[in-house]
Symmetry: C2
Subunit: 358 residues, 2 copies
Amino acid sequence: MADPTQRPAGPSTPAVLIDLDIARRNIRRFQDYADAHGLTVRPHIKTHKLPAIARMQLAAGAVGITCQKVSEAEAMVAGAPDLSDVLITYNIVGAEKLSRLAALARRVTLGVVADSAAVVEGLSSAFAAEPSPLRVLVECNTGADRCGVATPEEAAALARRIAASPGLRFGGLMTYPPANGVAAVETFMTKAKMLIEAEGLPVEVITSGGTPSMMSAAQAPVTTEYRPGTYVYNDRSLVARGVCGWEDCALTVLATVVSVPAANRAIIDAGSKTLTSDLLGLTGYGHVLGRPDIAIDQLSEEHGRLVSEGPIGLIVSETVRVVPNHACVVTNMVDEVHVVEGGRLTGTWAVVARGHIT
Amino acid sequence: MADPTQRPAGPSTPAVLIDLDIARRNIRRFQDYADAHGLTVRPHIKTHKLPAIARMQLAAGAVGITCQKVSEAEAMVAGAPDLSDVLITYNIVGAEKLSRLAALARRVTLGVVADSAAVVEGLSSAFAAEPSPLRVLVECNTGADRCGVATPEEAAALARRIAASPGLRFGGLMTYPPANGVAAVETFMTKAKMLIEAEGLPVEVITSGGTPSMMSAAQAPVTTEYRPGTYVYNDRSLVARGVCGWEDCALTVLATVVSVPAANRAIIDAGSKTLTSDLLGLTGYGHVLGRPDIAIDQLSEEHGRLVSEGPIGLIVSETVRVVPNHACVVTNMVDEVHVVEGGRLTGTWAVVARGHIT
């Protein structure tokens, strides 16, 4: 990619490139693991926000998709009317969002989560008069300390409340696990399942997620479903954790060198408006492919600063490809991505669920 | 804003609110300072990306606007055809961008910067056959170590090269100063100006920028123009630096509490897709107005985690308003902002220059 004479054929930089061959391989790898261990796969679309890639995941064997917000689910379903099964892993609160949720439930098989009586009450009031009950899973805090009920006993109490609420149906248990938390998931979910089933309520689904620990998902055999997101693209944070290699990173940022103001410093036209400031515990803001000697040590909104110990050896107008720290948030920065197949640019796709935060 | 009964009238959360009364006061304050010190003001629109606010800045006395990318300038001019004077403070590189730059120069009075012979050559090749020469300023590194020529001597050499290049006109000197760098700006620019004028080239404009040091801009009297950006909204980083108070923050994020899973923890529906991961040297991701006892200690893409030492005292469905660490990057996350005047929501504006990174 370093030959400037090739540039006119490429997109204006900075540009987000998606290598579909790598993405397909990543999808296949986890689906095979899940199939071998009796887990269903429900990918989180936050990473790509693209109906076309959701279809690739479903074609590989996924049972449905995961979204985080109602508007994200609306955009995905609008972009792919054949998407028929959506789980929104979020507490949906407020009359306006509940009304949109009810409209969405008339179009697709829908599930949501709840971690409090207040959320369950809102859901019930919105669905009591709907033709079909809404499937509601109890979100459990297995150590990430974000949302979720704190104990198996609370999970059981909330499951009972859901089952007793007009318009709702208890659909199972959901968690976003902490780092290296597979044992905690197994302990929490086994106890919660036992308590709930002891009251005659079936626990249809126990769903966990997170790409970093996906290859140890089977070590929590109580889990029935897994929701990986980043696995489809991978990124520098996952390479750093040993989950994958650079050759498994499907999303890269193509950037142009716009300044080489010192022997060991160059500036690229991708800054925090493209790479984002997400660090995920790393030092620096991305990896320049083929140049492990370079660090991206500072971002402004439109400038990325590359520094090297020795001479940086870059020239103005040269392009580089950067693997970002966190692929999902990069997807959210751009209106379109450029698709690569067989090493060639083959199309441009609108990121239809970008920026859908409500 | 904490009364849930008021929520149906507000926007779906998370939502970015812009208090225009505060923004007008912020614009006026710096324009008055600049007027008193003989500085012209050329606001950087990256903070708001809104033609309507650019017009407020021009009406207050600004001489034009600053943009960072060609596509950003294109979007602003398309949104406000009366914008007639634009400076793009970026090295424009590559045939496709240079062609768009030439098209833009036929519509408005345009200036750009350059910090190398390579950039000057590209500009000259694109403008040699244009009807009017392009104004090109030399970008100078006064200590921020981003782009810019390293010494006044290099600045003078590049000024000569610009003046001798077909299609170009030397337009002056530009810098983005380092923190507390007003003395460095004065020293560098005074020397560069002397060297350039000694060769008979006038230095029309010496332009500096940055909200943090804007109230000491006059301590570099060689400066003729200032390009503040964040000053129109302000943010937590500027409050932390003592530049302004919370009452001067025009941009806030309205968020809803979706979970209170522990006595000292609550989750809001604004995460890094709204507040961003920008820290700007701070701890935590924003300030909850009226609740100095709360820290936003962790963001996921759609979750913000609020923690307090004592009981957090929030309930599900309650709203809070958050001043983000960095206003400019929040603007870039949303397709629209909600305008507040006289304490009431009065409109919704599309962020027309959002996501324009090329």
